[in-house]
């Protein structure tokens, strides 16, 4: 079993330690080429017919990129056009060492079968291993190793190729010295740019080339604009001795010349350092980790309230710039001044590809253009492209390559086009990318873990499961729901008590721990619902078929079964894995109809009535305990069935059956939370909702006071009670508005691991413990909870990560992040569809209520559409009316009229599409009439349009 191996010692000395490692060289590492007759390999990766249409290499060839080519040009390598590439182990290791994201992308490419990328373990091959020579740097040695391996390949292929059609190996490198040496040793070698440009059939690849540093045609003038960044060693020394601070750079959304650096201190004492002016920002980009140096106290400034957008043509002369900067330095009151500093160095860049649009240069033939990212906090990026005319008006993605000190803008390269701006698909893609929602199709590796179809329940499956197929179980969901993850039943027992069962799709049966499918689901965290689109967390086969508890098919479920008396008191709780056969999938409305229709008396209807009765009792009990009923307006779009354009907007209606299902889900979640916490006190995944700090309620209290209503916020119960009692005569909408305000005061509920926290309380539900168990198809947290529960009842085995509270806690962080981002994405999607709606509707006049009062604006809520908008009183280019803001009220008096919270106003709604990237709903005041501020009500024209649409 021991092969005879040449035995070489590799000595690596660094610092003090001398480490000796063995290094075995082998004869059984194959070349991976289909054309080779000499290697005894079982499967091959590289094709014989490796043709890429290149004007430089007309023969079939394999590519061997060096490390820098992989690191910088991964965008190009990922393109489906580039195939048959040999990635040497030397390169792979260097990439791993230098950039984790690129390494991950490279690995993904290596796994893709169609790409024909082969990893050659050259460092362990007897003929390609080389020792480091005295005086040779590690980099030089690696370059030489790459050349030796490429040389070996070309000789090997020449020797063993079966049909001689001149298969060759082409080395790609950007390093001049390396290229020269390779040419000397008789290798075919090209610069990456040269080679990509020679691919005649695919000219679009050229734009994806990243600009390398040694490029001669450097963009930008030779004038140095920015101070040099300090080397990392000096930064570290500076941070250690306290002269520099380390923090995350956060650019301001409204002012491109301003940013803050959030410095995390020990414990709670973290500070924010203000940065102002291009010089001080010193090429930092939003989200970078930077080192800042504080300026002397005399130079401290206050954050400006000016809105400044970096607009217009590229600014290369900085006259204009200076003026803008001057505008910032309005001397502020001493008190308003904040610690101010400047960036001295970048510790870690956090660049990702950015979405945005191209500003086409005015010069027609120019290939350099500015790119404006959708995120205003990211600076504009200069890219080089020959297809500017086709890209204009498109949403595109651009990656930053670098920001030299003599360039006003960072340099980047085009990654891909998402489609033309304003189109639904494009905008959807943009908002998914900007909210970091993973939405690519599932990879082959992930799909390989799906069960084979046709799938059926086998007797082996039933050994560990309880057979509940005879029960009359049904599901109640919103219309059009295909991922049904819960079903219910209720029946009377012989002893007069009721048996209630909540059956949840058994997703953890199909998704086994730590396989690719599980990892993908864990990283996605949640299914994201956009208007008219769903981004699944698990592949569709599971989400809409095998896991979905559809009617009249047999499905696996995880059941939570209670025995209750008629007072809805739980007498017994039992959890079991089961098989069920749902008898009906109903919508909320259908279920409601069955309950109300006295003529129907079948099993399902009876069971629904029983559930409904219990739910009412449960809800009352819960509210008595102090659970909050809050309100937020949710809207539903009526979509045109063909164009998928929104044709009507409606606020969601809530029925009794909604709350029926909700009650039982809450009960199941609480029961499960208790069970898993009892069983695993250290590693149960729970959900908590912290009580908001008292100051959060200020706005609510003030608002209520203005209508002479008193709100108590001492406890959840007091709040719930006082909200119930808050009524104003002749203002029926007041209570809803108040609840909307109360919702805004709340904290975000979060997942956490029980071993890492001591406060478990769920404020909103007034429950001492809570978790998520009932939606495993669309939330990953539920899958973990399922696994924990399965272990607790002995239905499944555990795995180490499940019991590791640190890993659990890291997972919770990801889930919380994904959850937050998915909510933002959802909101952005609603906002976009609202815009589409108003675009088709033209101008509308609507009544609304003032929700907040700001210094220069009021925020108006229009109940009919659930739409919120801002009415500004200081629009650019208009004379600003006399504004007086009173913080106590809060009230804002405009000329002679005073605005308070809850005032009824009439506004006209229009779509402002002057900025294609940031379309906005604009509202302007019609009533009350204030001269110089309000506008006359426009009419007639929208009516006609409306009629047409209604037909």
């Amino acid at each position: 079993m021991l092969k005879s191996k040449t035995f070489v010692k590799k000595t690596r000395s660094g610092g003090v330690m001398k480490i000796v490692r063995e290094h075995y060289l082998r004869d059984d590492i194959w070349c991976g080429s289909e054309a080779c007759s000499g290697c005894k390999q079982e499967s091959t990766v590289l094709q014989t017919d490796a043709c890429m249409e290149s004007s430089l290499c007309s023969y079939p060839h394999y590519l061997v990129p060096d490390t820098n080519v992989v690191l910088h040009q991964i965008d190009v390598l990922e393109d489906p056009v580039i195939r048959n590439v040999i990635i040497l182990q030397t390169v792979l290791q260097e990439v791993r060492h230098r950039s984790a994201p690129v390494y991950k992308r490279l690995k993904d490419v290596l796994h893709e079968k169609e790409k024909h990328f082969y990893t050659f373990t050259n460092e362990h091959h007897r003929e390609t291993f080389i020792d480091r020579e005295p005086g040779e740097s590690a980099n030089d040695r690696n370059d030489r190793a790459i050349r030796v391996a490429a040389k070996w390949y070309s000789q090997h292929l020449k020797k063993f190729e079966c049909d001689k059609d001149g298969l060759k190996v082409v080395l790609l490198t950007n390093d001049q010295g390396n290229k020269q040496k390779a040419e000397e040793s008789g290798l075919l070698v090209y610069k990456c740019e040269e080679y990509i440009k020679s691919l005649i059939a695919n000219p679009e690849l050229v734009d994806r080339l990243a600009l390398s540093n040694d490029d001669k045609n450097e963009i930008g003038s030779s004038k140095v604009l920015f101070p040099e960044h300090l080397p990392l060693s000096r930064i570290q020394a500076g941070i250690k001795c306290g002269s520099f601070l380390q923090g995350t750079f956060r650019a301001s959304r409204d002012n491109y010349l301003e940013a803050t650096v959030f410095v995390q201190g020990e414990g709670d004492d973290s500070t924010e350092v203000l940065l102002q002016g291009l010089q001080n920002l010193n090429r930092a980009v939003h989200q970078d980790v930077v080192a800042v140096q504080l300026l002397p106290r005399s130079q401290w400034v206050a954050p400006s309230s000016v809105v400044l957008q970096d607009e217009g043509a590229a600014k290369d002369d900085d006259v204009e710039e200076e003026e803008e900067e001057k505008a910032l330095r309005i001397s502020a009151a001493e008190a308003a001044r904040k610690p101010t500093g400047k960036v001295v160095g970048i510790i870690k860049r956090n660049w990702r590809p950015f979405c945005g649009m191209l500003n086409v240069s005015q010069i027609k033939e120019s290939t350099r253009h500015l790119f404006t990212p959708a995120d205003r906090r990211v600076p504009r990026i200069r890219i080089e492209t020959r297809q500017a005319s086709t890209l204009a008006g498109h949403r595109i993605m651009v990656a930053i390559d670098g920001w030299p000190k003599d360039s006003r803008y960072p340099n980047g390269h085009f990654v891909r086009s998402l489609g033309s701006a304003g189109e639904k698909d494009t905008e959807q893609e943009v908002l998914l990318l900007e909210h970091d929602v993973p939405h690519q199709a599932f990879s082959q590796a992930v799909l390989s873990f799906l069960p084979k179809m046709p799938w059926a329940i086998t007797p082996e499956d039933m050994v560990r499961r309880e057979d509940l197929r005879h029960l009359s179980v049904c599901s109640v969901d919103p219309p059009g729901c295909t991922d049904i993850d819960d079903a219910l039943h209720c029946r009377e027992l012989e002893n007069g008590n009721l048996e209630v069962g909540v059956h949840i799709a058994d997703v953890s049966h199909f998704i086994r721990p730590s396989n690719a499918l599980d990892k993908e689901a864990a990283s996605r965290g949640t299914t994201v619902y956009l208007c008219g689109k769903r981004i699944d967390m698990v592949p569709e086969l599971l989400s809409s078929n095998l896991c979905s508890l559809r009617s009249n098919v047999e499905r696996f479920a995880f059941s939570c079964i209670w025995e209750m008396n008629h007072k809805a008191e739980v007498l017994k709780t039992r959890f079991t894995k089961s098989a069920i056969n749902s008898k009906a999938s109903l919508t909320y409305a259908e279920a409601q109809m069955r309950i109300d229709d006295t003529n129907m008396n079948d099993e399902i209807t009876k069971s629904l009535r029983g559930l409904n009765k219990l739910a009412k009792t449960l809800k009352r009990q819960r509210i008595d305990k102090g659970a909050l009923t809050l309100s937020s307006l949710e809207v539903r779009f009526h979509m045109d069935s063909e164009t998928h354009d929104p044709i009507d907007l409606q606020t969601k209606e809530l029925m009794e059956t909604n709350s029926m299902v909700e009650e039982f889900m809450l009960l199941a979640n609480i029961s499960v939370a208790q069970k898993i916490y009892d069983e695993f006190s250290e590693c149960a995944l729970l959900r908590k909702h912290p009580a908001p700090p008292p100051s959060n309620y200020d706005i609510l209290l003030k608002a209520a006071k203005s209508k002479d209503v008193e709100i108590h916020t001492d406890s959840a119960k007091a709040l719930a009670d006082s909200l119930d009692g808050a009524k104003v005569d002749g203002f029926p909408y007041f209570n809803t508005l108040l609840r909307i305000l109360a919702t805004r005061c709340m904290m975000q509920a979060v997942y956490f691991c029980s071993g890492m926290d001591s406060d478990f309380h769920h404020y909103g539900l007034a429950s001492p413990i809570y978790t998520h168990f009932t939606s495993p198809i669309r939330r990953y947290a539920d899958i973990i909870v399922h696994r924990l529960l399965a272990v607790a009842i002995g239905a499944d085995s555990t795995y180490p990560d499940l019991m590791d509270k640190h890993k659990q806690s890291a997972l919770c962080n990801n889930l919380n992040y994904r959850h937050k981002m998915s909510q933002y994405a959802q909101r952005a999607s609603v906002a976009f569809h609202t815009q589409l709606f108003f675009k088709s509707r033209g101008i509308l006049n609507e009544e609304g209520y003032v929700l907040f009062v700001r210094k220069n604006a009021i925020i108006v809520l229009i109940p009919k559409f659930g739409l919120e908008g801002t009415v500004f009183f200081d629009t650019k280019g208009k004379t600003v009316p006399n504004l007086v803001f009173d913080e106590e009220g809060p009230t804002l008096s405009v000329e002679q009229h005073i605005f308070c919270i809850f005032d009824k106003v009439k506004v006209t709604i229009t779509l402002d599409d002057s900025n294609v990237q940031h379309q906005k709903i604009r509202m302007s005041l019609i009533e009350p009439v204030i001269t110089g501020v309000s506008v006359p009500a426009p009419d007639a024209e929208p009516q006609a349009k409306k009629l047409k649409l209604d037909n």
Binding site: K18, R21, T119, T121, S797, P800, M803
Partner: protein, 320 residues
């Protein structure tokens, strides 16, 4: 003695003895060891009884061991222990051992001696005896020989030069393990009231110190002409990416791998010692033990060859 099989454990017995923790991972804290002595002192019964008695008898040993239980270390170093192509850090495949080289009879004045290299781990083993009990006679056993083991590491054996006084806890523990291993293998009942000394020194350390010591000492015992039931071969295995890795080197051992050391009497397939400090899911244990046994059998083949070659050399020297 009835049979060797009665003394040594097989896998199902071991699994019965391992306690599973709340989270269904196992930690083999207890050493499963066998010796004539512990067998005798235990009540007649299954292997289960033996293990318990071994633990009782070696209560001291356990107390010494516990502080050394390695905490769960994450793979912080960030070394890729097993590449996608199936190669390990040093170019071996998962089941391949390091190169084993050995020489017997390296010292003339001792009764038996051997030098063994397993990759970069190098050990020297010397055996004296069987001879009369030295020191206090009360240690003598009336029906078999006492085995006395001493393990030490050379000051220059690791990357960092370090003074290693005799009798530190680590080497006391290791000495104890060696003693237990050899009590199971050497036919001590042939030499009542006598003593066998085994001294092992690690000259260079690169992972798997225990197994290299056992392998070297086996050769030394054979060189001394002391009868054994079989070779005792030892090997470590680690568990990475659902794959057992045989014969870990230092970089792998320190990379946070759950590793297991196993000493085997290869012909009968009996386990003389099993030790695991890290946590491992019980489902994987069997696969890991299987891999370790295969690796030990591989070692035994090499040792057998060394012994045969040594015999040939000796016999040609003596002109037979």
């Amino acid at each position: 003695m009835n049979s060797v099989a009665a003394l040594c454990l097989n896998i199902p017995d071991i699994k019965r003895c391992i306690q599973t923790e709340e989270d269904r991972t196992v930690t083999v804290r207890t050493l499963l060891l066998l010796s004539l002595w512990s067998c005798r002192s235990s009540s007649p019964g299954g292997a289960f009884g033996y293990v318990h008695s071994a633990a009782d008898t070696w209560g001291v040993a356990l107390a010494v061991r516990l502080p050394f239980i390695r905490s769960l270390r994450k793979n912080m170093a960030g070394l890729e222990l097993l590449s996608d192509q199936g190669y390990r850090l040093d170019g071996r495949k998962a089941a391949e051992l390091r190169k084993v080289q050995a020489r017997m009879g390296v010292f003339a004045q001792a009764d038996g001696s051997a030098y063994l290299e397993q990759g970069n781990t190098k050990a020297l083993a010397v055996v004296y005896g069987p001879h009369e009990i030295r020191g206090s006679r009360s240690r003598a056993l009336h029906d078999r020989a006492v085995i006395n083991c001493q393990y030490s590491m050379a000051t220059f054996s690791t990357a960092e030069r370090k003074r290693r006084p005799h009798g530190d806890r680590k080497s006391t523990e290791m000495s104890l393990h060696l003693k237990q291993t050899f009590e199971a293998a050497v036919m001590t009942q042939l030499y009542p009231r006598s003593q066998i000394d085994i001294y092992v020194k690690i000259l260079q350390s690169d992972g798997g110190n225990y197994s290299v010591c056992v392998n070297a000492a086996t050769l030394a015992v054979i060189d001394a002409g002391i009868p054994m039931r079989d070779y005792v071969c030892a090997c470590t295995v680690g568990f990475v990416d659902e794959t057992p890795l045989a014969d870990l080197c230092y970089a792998e051992e320190s990379g946070g791998v759950s590793s297991l050391a196993l000493a085997l009497l290869p012909r009968g397939g009996q386990i003389a010692l099993l030790q695991m400090d890290a946590r491992l899911h019980q489902d994987h244990l069997e696969a890991l033990i299987e891999a370790a046994m295969t690796a030990c059998k591989g070692v035994s083949k090499v040792l057998d060859e060394v012994v045969r070659q040594h015999l040939q050399e000796v016999s040609s020297l003596t002109g037979e």
